[in-house]
Subunit: 218 residues, 2 copies
DNA sequence: ACCCCTTTGTCAGACAGCTGACAGTAATCT
DNA sequence: AGATTACTGTCAGCTGTCTGACAAAGGGGT
């Protein structure tokens, strides 16, 4: 259960000297936290790169929503999909019309390769979302989420791995495709079973990662 | 509920004169029906275009499986994903190593554009799969499936639209992410409720498509 | 220190969909 | 034709997850 769509960081990529002329084609836009910035049917066809802040990419129907990814600095995305995009924090985006990107691609084959690589990664990630929705129950998805966080954003210490989630239970539930209540109940059970320890609000310690790894399968 | 990944038909595209030299780079391979031809972890990194027959692209875990798409002539796919590919009928594939495609892309920017378009379509389709898994119940997914089939492969007559499914109940269940039994029960209910009529094994008539369209929402 | 608002934990009840079982029907093989 | 295998329909549990409700705890602002 990953929250990033792609492991390619475009800020690093674009920082290189040879991409300087491409970089200037972007327009910076600032947004305040908790604002919906793009919805499906958005008239303008744009691509954007996150420069600062965290965004949430999600599908929504009526009162339910499901997070496809949490976008962070270096992530790229486009506005013309069926997903909504909202800011979780104050954020700055680098924006460019898709048409401009396309004309740029015609003269820069290396760019096409990068785009294809990114699309491939996003596709792989969405297959893995489908996989988890179809084959895994909530407990497994939650364990997968903690395992991913521990591995990618955890701080390893003598006591085990410390994981800090900047998410409310509701937000976490939307990522794994469940509800607040169910997630809360399962986390309580995990604390009781000793696979997780709560250090502080949003901060958990995993002392034995193999225990957690096993936990998903009962 | 679509079963095709992409609406771009590469056989038509490649039939054009200017692509002749590219076309000859492919190797034809024949497969008999009901054989698993690629699995995740497949050592060779290939792309293939379906020339003849229908294939099923699916995710599998232990005894469960979920169909991502039914590939038909003109569809393209790659072997290095987490999905399995099996033939539903005797089939012929046009195969090429991904590396060869990539070197070809360097000199043919138009090809990159096509690849990007295809990846975009597959991505869109997988978002729509996620959408249906998260937000829709089995009844809705099944109605969506019939609606899609009626629209794209149905034969319209005076009595309504005739839909022929070349699928067993189990296969249909794997497409919408359910079980044989549930699908069978719901189809029975649809027949009783008159939104569907059974003409023959695998052949259904939809006399009133609006009735069916409504049916998903109770 | 107080109030307000957001977040969390927990529980009982409901229900959609899965499982397993069995009988009936259709297709395929020899 | 008969036998074997594959597919379909149906029903009675069972279970995982959602819903709604309420109380408790935390955080921020004044």
């Amino acid at each position: 259960m990953k929250t990033k769509l792609s492991s390619i960081n475009l800020l690093t990529e674009l920082g290189k000297e040879e991409n300087r002329d491409f970089l200037v084609e972007f327009t910076d836009i600032n947004y305040t936290k908790n604002s919906l910035i793009y919805s499906p049917g958005h008239e303008r066809d744009l691509i954007f790169i996150v420069k600062k802040g965290r965004l949430r990419l999600y599908l929504a129907v009526e009162d339910k929503d499901f997070s496809l990814a949490i976008l962070e600095p270096g992530d790229i995305y486009a506005t013309h999909t069926r997903a909504h995009v909202e800011t979780l924090e104050d954020a700055t985006l680098m924006v460019m019309p898709t048409a401009k990107l396309q004309s740029y691609m015609a003269t820069h084959p290396a760019l096409s390769r990068t785009i294809i690589r990114i699309l491939g990664e996003i596709l792989k990630q969405s297959f893995s979302i489908i996989d988890s929705l179809v084959f895994k129950d909530i407990k497994q998805r939650l364990t997968d989420f903690f395992l991913y966080e521990a591995e990618h954003n955890g701080r390893k210490g003598v006591m085990g791995t410390t994981v800090k989630l900047d998410l409310t239970t509701t937000q976490l539930a939307a990522i794994i495709g469940s509800t607040r209540q169910t997630v809360s109940t399962i986390i309580s059970a995990m604390l009781k079973d000793g696979v997780l320890e709560k250090k502080d609000r949003n901060i958990y310690i995993i002392s034995n990662i193999d225990l957690l790894r096993n936990y998903g399968h009962t």
